[in-house]
Amino acid sequence: MNPTSFIQLYVFVLAAFVGYQIITRVPPLLHTPLMSATNAISAISLVGSLVAAGSNRGSVSTILGFAAVTAATINVVGGFVITDRMLKMFKRDPAPASKEAKASGAPPESGKR
């Protein structure tokens, strides 16, 4: 295994670790937006498709690249738009009265929502 691949493996393992730490703290409330968000982010594979479509390495690569650019762009655009649309819907209760009611009965929430 050459040094470059090994550094890549480091990057992968560390990123997965960071991801694990962060994502375990995402409340179930936002699990659907989380899915669409990670989906949009991983559509960064668009950068790989751009290289395939634009580096003029023969028509097969160009056509496959074009299809990949199209697919990845769908996820980038659609993914971020729909995530934003969902997150926009999550609103706090405007009435402060319920706050007190909650403080009396509900268990401590440790910032979970």
Binding site: I41, S61, A67, N75, I82
Partner: protein, 458 residues
């Protein structure tokens, strides 16, 4: 110089992605954080377009334009009720992009690929193609194009294991002989088949697990693309996506009391065993909308337990309307959300948020379970297995051990139900025969509308 610029944009994008996901830990910061992540994406795209390698822009432009034209309505037009299908199809599209890049790389370099590269490309097309067909199957089941029931046949496991084994052998052979194109394409074909066979036995209520798992696979395919083309931002984004899907799969499987191994090997669709208890000799008490409305109108605390039935009936707006009326009468309304209620992680939360239910009224299972004893009424809307006490006290029940919402601890329970058919797992629900329970039969949306009218009249 250009190379440095590209790398800097990738680095910034990676940081913004991580910050974006971090912002999702709190609903108040989430939106802003994801907007930053979108900026990161834009930077990475610009950073890529200025690279020396890219010499022609025509097909790139076509792809970007076509993708945007399709992507915008997929973001703005899809209704929240169709969100599980929407998520499934986006896993498919993402995995398709990764697979195509992998095929392009192989087409160009084929036999000259080193061990590390061909391994990366192998993983990329394997995870990619099985996610493409798997997600499409999930989409089909959720959309109702193919049967949502579990499809099983004799020797299913043997077929799947053989298929998986043969594919694995081809992959190993390919690492040793990267030049054998026939094996490469045959491997893709088999991986596509695996995706179909993997999702075939999955029934509707198991969908949250399968969608999470496919999320993870799509992420791993993206990460493998990063390894194949030597791109760190891809590796990072893929790893984040993979980790996210992985965590969700575990959360979902825990909530259904399925083992970790079941998740990893995708064998979670096992047909439910014959119901342990039958309902012979037991009777249910039905209730009229008028009587139910009186109970609700005078309740101090009502806990709503929504389930897939609410999503099917698209009754979330009526639920909110009823809740507002109860609040006007002086009661308090909370929502108890089971992790696997619905067809994907967080399904109920999104639907209720869409109906303008404030998110601080939505409670996770652990937060709310202690409060049922205080509740005057538990209003169960189209939920079944997640409130079945058999999970707690009947060792012979197939769902024994599954964590459930303690709806049975409430002072009284009103169940909105279409008919007396048992739930997904095919198990009778003792809760329905409880002395404290009454059933209001009919379509959830219609029943709720009737309740709204009646509560108004109280």
């Amino acid at each position: 110089m250009r190379e440095t610029f590209t790398q800097v944009t990738y680095l910034v994008a990676s940081v913004l992605f991580i910050l974006g996901l971090r912002s999702l830990t709190k609903p108040d910061t989430a939106r802003r954080g994801m907007q930053y992540a979108a900026v990161g994406m834009l930077l990475a795209i610009i950073g890529t377009l200025v690279q020396h390698e890219i010499v022609r822009y025509d097909w790139i432009a076509y792809g970007l334009i076509l993708g945007t034209i399709i992507g915008i309505p997929m973001g703005t037009e899809v209704p929240m009720t169709a969100m599980p299908q929407r998520i499934a199809i986006s896993h498919m599209v993402g995995a398709l992009a990764a697979t195509l890049v992998g095929v392009a790389e192989y087409w160009l370099h084929g036999a000259s690929l080193g061990t590390a590269k061909i391994s990366a490309i192998g993983f990329e097309v394997l995870f990619g193609s099985l996610t493409v067909t798997g997600s499409f199957m999930a989409f089909g089941k959720l959309q109702g194009i193919i049967t949502g029931r579990s499809v099983t046949y004799k020797g299913q496991n043997a077929v799947n294991i053989t298929l998986f084994g043969v594919t694995l052998i081809m992959f190993i052979y390919l690492i040793v002989n990267p030049g054998n194109a026939l094996v490469f394409y045959a491997m893709i074909a088999l991986a596509l088949l695996i995706g179909i066979f993997m999702v075939l036995p999955i029934g509707g209520a198991d969908m949250p697990v399968v969608i999470s798992l496919l999320n993870s696979y799509a992420g791993l395919a993206s990460a493998a693309t990063g390894f194949a083309i030597g791109n760190n931002v891809l590796i990072i984004a893929g790893a984040l996506d993979g980790a996210s899907g992985f965590i969700l799969s575990i959360v979902m499987s825990k909530a259904m009391n399925r083992s970790f191994n079941n998740v990893i090997f995708g064998a979670f669709g096992a047909a439910p065993t014959v119901s342990a208890k039958t309902a012979t000799g037991l009777t249910v008490r039905s209730i009229s909308a008028e009587d139910a409305a009186i109970q609700l109108a005078y309740a101090k605390l009502v806990i709503v337990v929504p389930g897939y039935g609410m999503a099917v009936a698209q009754a979330q707006h009526q639920v909110r309307e009823l809740a507002e009326l109860i609040e006007k009468k002086g009661g308090e309304v909370k929502y108890a959300i089971h992790p696997v209620a619905g067809r994907m992680p967080g399904h109920m939360n999104v639907l209720l948020a869409e109906a303008n239910v404030p998110y601080d009224r939505l409670y996770d299972m652990e937060e709310i379970n202690g409060e049922f004893e205080r509740a005057d009424v538990a209003l169960v809307i189209g939920a079944n297995d997640v409130v079945n006490p058999a999970a707690r006290n009947d060792k012979s029940s197939p769902i024994y051990g599954m964590p459930i919402l303690n709806a049975d601890k409430a002072q009284s329970i009103i169940v909105l139900k279409r008919s007396m058919n048992p739930g997904f797992a095919g198990i009778e629900n003792e809760l329905f025969y409880d002395d404290k329970t009454t059933l209001l039969f009919g379509d959830a949306k219609t029943s709720l509308s009737r309740l709204v009218t009646e509560v108004k009249a109280v």
